[in-house]
Subunit: 456 residues, 2 copies
C-alpha cells in the first residue's frame, strides 16, 4: 500500500514544508518531497499534516469520574479525597464497563489528535480482589478498546504491592494488588505474548510508585525490564506526602532511590516529578531519563508545577500525559508546560530554546507532545521523518482557531491556539481512524448509568 498525501503544509522534523508530499508505504513514511509518478495521491486541501500526538500517561478508566469530582468537591478536598472518589469507580467496574469506558476515552483521544497512548493500567483483579481466570482479563479489555479505536498503544501494566510504607492494607486497592513481583512479571510476559501478533500494541513495566512498591519489587521489575527492553514507567514525586513516606522508609527522595535500585536510566519515565530538589533534578538529568508531565491533571489535583526548564537544562527529556483524562487536549498540556512556569516566574516563554534556533518555542513544545512521548514509550518516531511510523493528524488551515497563520507560525499556532474543531483526520500507521462514535457514546452512557445510577 503506497500513497502520497498532499496537503498545503507538512511538519516534519520540527520544520514546516510547503508544497511537499508525504509518501507512505506499509504504514511508514518513506520520503517527503515530490510524489512519484503512478502513486495514489490523497489531496488534502487547506490542510496541514502534523505528527500525531502522544499521551504517554493515561488512566482511561478515570474517564468515568470526569466532572463527578468537581461539583462534589468540598473546601477540604485534596488529592487524597479525590483518590477516594476514583477508588469508588475502580472498585465497581465490570470488565464490559471498563472496556466501554476505555473505548470512550480512546475515541476522544483520537478526535483530539492523539495517535499513541501509554496506558498505565492498574486494575487487574475482580471486585473481590481475586484474579480473573485470565489474570490479564482487564488489561486485555483496555488493550482491545484502544486497538478497536485504532490507536497505537503501549500497555504499561502496573505492579502494585501495598497501600504504602507502614500503612495498613486499604481494601479499596484490592483490584490493583498482586502477590509478588514474580506473579506480576509472569502476567506481564503473558500479556506480551498475547499481543505479539499486533504490530501496534506493545507492553511496558510500571511499578506504580515508591509508595505502592517496596524496593525489592522495583529492583526486580526494573532488572527484568532492562533484559526485555521494556520501557519502565513509575509515578514519581507527585505529592508531598509521598515524599515524606519515601524519606521515612529509604532516607532519600524517590529519584535517588530509583538511582540506587538501578531503575533510573534512559528508558525510565518518571511521571509527574513535581516535587524535586536539586539532587533529584541532577539525577534525572544525568540518567537522561524522561519526565512525563501531566499539567492538565496536575492543575486539577493541585499537585504543582513541573520544573521543565531545570529538567531540560540538567539533560532530562520530557513527554506529556493526559493522566486522569479530565480534559482531553494534549496541546493544552503542551502550552501549560510553558504557561505554568510563566505564572511562577512572571516572565514569558521560559522554555524558549533561545534566539536563532530553528526549533522555536512552538516547535519545542510540539516535539515534547509527539516525539517526546514516543521516546518515552520506547518507540521510534513522532516527527514524521523518513523511516518513522505514519502516525499523523490532518488539521484544517481554515479553522477559526488557526486561520491566517503564516507557515513559520504553524507550530506555535497549533500549540498555543488550536481547538479540537481544527482536527479533521487522525491516521495511525497509514490508516485513517474512523471508529463508530455513536455506538461508543451509547455504550459508554449505559456503563455510566450502571456505575452511578444516572447519566444523561
Amino acid at each position: 500500500m503506497r500513497r502520497a498525501f498532499q496537503p498545503d503544509l507538512i511538519c516534519s522534523g520540527g520544520r514546516v514544508l510547503a508544497s511537499a508530499a508525504l509518501l507512505v508505504e506499509d504504514g511508514v513514511v518513506t520520503s517527503i518531497g515530490e510524489a512519484p509518478a503512478g502513486v495514489e495521491v490523497v489531496r488534502l486541501r487547506r490542510a496541514a499534516i502534523l505528527p500525531g500526538l502522544v499521551s504517554a500517561h493515561s488512566h482511561a478508566f478515570q474517564r468515568a469520574i470526569r466532572a463527578r469530582t468537581e461539583w462534589r468537591a468540598r473546601s477540604e478536598s485534596d488529592f487524597w479525597t479525590w483518590r477516594e472518589a476514583m477508588y469508588a469507580a475502580a472498585g465497581q467496574l465490570s470488565p464490559d464497563d471498563l472496556e466501554a469506558v476505555s473505548r470512550m476515552c480512546f475515541y476522544e483521544m483520537a478526535l483530539s489528535g492523539i495517535t499513541c497512548v501509554g496506558e498505565f493500567h492498574y486494575l487487574h483483579r475482580d471486585t473481590r480482589g481475586q484474579p480473573y481466570d485470565d489474570p490479564n482479563e482487564l488489561d486485555l479489555r483496555v488493550l482491545r478498546a484502544a486497538r478497536g479505536v485504532g490507536l497505537r498503544t503501549v500497555h504499561l501494566r502496573v505492579a502494585y504491592a501495598r497501600a504504602g510504607f507502614a500503612l495498613p492494607d486499604n481494601p479499596r486497592q484490592r483490584r490493583f494488588i498482586e502477590g509478588s513481583p514474580d506473579e506480576y512479571l509472569k502476567n506481564l510476559a503473558a500479556l506480551q505474548a498475547a499481543v505479539r501478533a499486533d504490530p501496534l500494541a506493545t507492553v511496558g513495566a510500571a511499578p506504580h510508585s515508591v509508595r505502592a512498591c517496596p524496593a525489592e519489587w522495583i529492583a526486580q521489575i526494573a532488572g527484568e525490564a532492562k533484559r526485555q527492553g521494556w520501557p519502565l514507567h513509575l509515578h514519581v514525586s507527585e505529592q508531598p506526602a509521598e515524599l515524606a513516606q519515601c524519606r521515612a522508609e529509604h532516607g532519600v527522595n524517590p529519584p535517588l532511590l530509583l538511582e540506587k535500585l538501578g531503575a533510573l536510566h534512559e528508558n525510565t519515565t518518571a511521571v509527574h516529578a513535581v516535587h524535586l530538589d536539586a539532587a533529584d533534578v541532577r539525577a534525572l538529568g544525568a540518567a537522561r531519563a524522561t519526565v512525563c508531565a501531566c499539567p492538565t491533571t496536575e492543575r486539577n489535583l493541585g499537585d504543582g508545577i513541573v520544573q521543565a526548564d531545570a529538567l531540560l537544562a540538567a539533560g532530562a527529556r520530557l513527554s506529556l500525559g493526559t493522566d486522569s483524562n479530565a480534559q482531553l487536549d494534549l496541546l493544552e498540556d503542551a502550552r501549560e508546560l510553558d504557561y505554568h512556569l510563566r505564572l511562577q516566574k512572571l516572565a514569558r516563554a521560559p522554555l524558549d530554546p533561545g534566539e536563532g534556533r530553528v526549533d522555536g518555542l512552538g516547535a519545542r513544545l510540539y516535539a515534547v507532545a509527539s516525539e517526546g512521548g514516543m521516546r518515552s514509550l520506547g518507540l521510534p518516531g513522532g516527527a514524521l521523518r523518513a523511516g518513522e511510523p505514519a502516525d499523523f493528524i490532518v488539521v484544517d488551515l481554515d479553522d477559526p482557531s488557526l486561520a491566517g497563520c503564516a507557515d513559520d507560525d504553524l507550530l506555535a499556532a497549533a500549540v498555543f491556539s488550536l481547538q479540537r474543531t481544527a482536527i479533521r483526520q487522525t491516521w495511525v500507521a497509514g490508516v485513517r481512524l474512523q471508529p463508530d462514535g455513536a455506538r461508543i457514546v451509547t455504550d459508554f452512557r449505559a456503563a455510566m448509568a450502571r456505575l452511578w445510577g444516572g447519566a444523561r
Copy 2:
C-alpha cells in the same frame, strides 16, 4: 415572535432542569416550564441549553498577532517586548483590515459560545496619529464587526492620554491618544448616539489605566460615567512596573487611587487586578467592584494569578475576559480561575462555595463566565431567568467531551471538560447566529497577508 425551546436540560439560575421548555418572546426569556399550547416548539434533541458566555474584556484586533509572538519569543521576552509586537500590528491596520480582523475574532467567539463581548477598544486615530473625519471611524468598524456576527456588544471606548508618568511620548501609541478628556467624552457621546437604534449595542467608559491616564482624566471620565450610567472599565495592577509608576506618581496602588478619585464603585470593573496588597483587596471588596480576570492571557503574558478567593471573600465580584484572544475558550478561563489557585496553594477547589451549597464549584465558575460578565458590562441577565435576555448556547450531550454526565454534573462538566465541538448553536436575543464563516475567514486571511506579508 414567541417560541418554546425544548432541549433535554436547561440551566437557569444555576440550577439544571430536566423536561422543561424555555419560552422566549421578543428576545427575552418569559418563563421556564411547560410549553403553552399553540406556541412554536423548537426541539433540541440530546442537547442542553446553557446561558451564553460573556467576554467582558477583549481586544479583538489582537487576533492579528495570535501565535506571532510565540514562535518569535526570546528568552529575554517579557510583557513589555510582547507589547512592542502588538504595537506593530496596531500601527498599521487600515479600517477595512481592522474590521476584517475583528470580525474573525467575533466569529470565533460565537463558535466558542460567547454571546456578549465587552470590547475594550483603544485604536481611534489614523496611522499618522490624526483623527479620522469621523473620530469614531475605527470604533464603528469594530462595532459593526461584532453586530454583523450577531454578538451583543458593549463598546468600551478607551481614553488614552500618555505613555506613562514622566515617560516621553511613545510614537507607537499615536493611534490611541486623544487630546483631552473633553475630546474623549465628546467622541464617546457621539458613539453612543450612533448606536442608539441598536438594542444590542451599548457603550462604556474606559480610561485605559492609571499609567496611560493622569488623575484628572480618570476623575472627569468617572464622573461623567456615573451621570450617564455607563460601566467604567480600567486595566488595574496587571504588571509590577505599572504599580511602581503609580506609587511614584500618586503614593498609592491603583485601587486606592481609584477610590480617592471616586472611580471605584459597583459599576467599576478592574481588569486583571493581579498584583494586589491587602488594602487593595479590601478597597475592591468594599466598593463591590468587579475584577475581570483574563487568566488565559495572564498566563500567556506572565502577569500572574488573580487572587479570586480573597477578592470574593472581601465582597468583590468577578467576571472573565478573553483579552488578547490568543486562545478563545472562555470556559478554559473559568477553569483556570480555580486551577491557578490550586497550583499556587497545592490544594483542590479553592473557589468551592462550601459543602451543601446548591451553587457548587461548577455552577459558581459558570456564573462568573455568564452572569458575572453581564453585570460587569452593566447589563441584566446571564442566568436565563424569566425576564432576562434570551442569550444562550445549545450544547450536544453526546459530544465526547460531555457524554455520560449526570444532570447534576452538567455545569461542572461544561466548566472543566467541554470542548468547542460540543457547542452546536449560539443564540442572542432569541436569534440564532449564523454568520458566513467562509467569507469571514477569507477576508481575514487577506488582511493578514497585507499586514504581515504571508498568511497561509
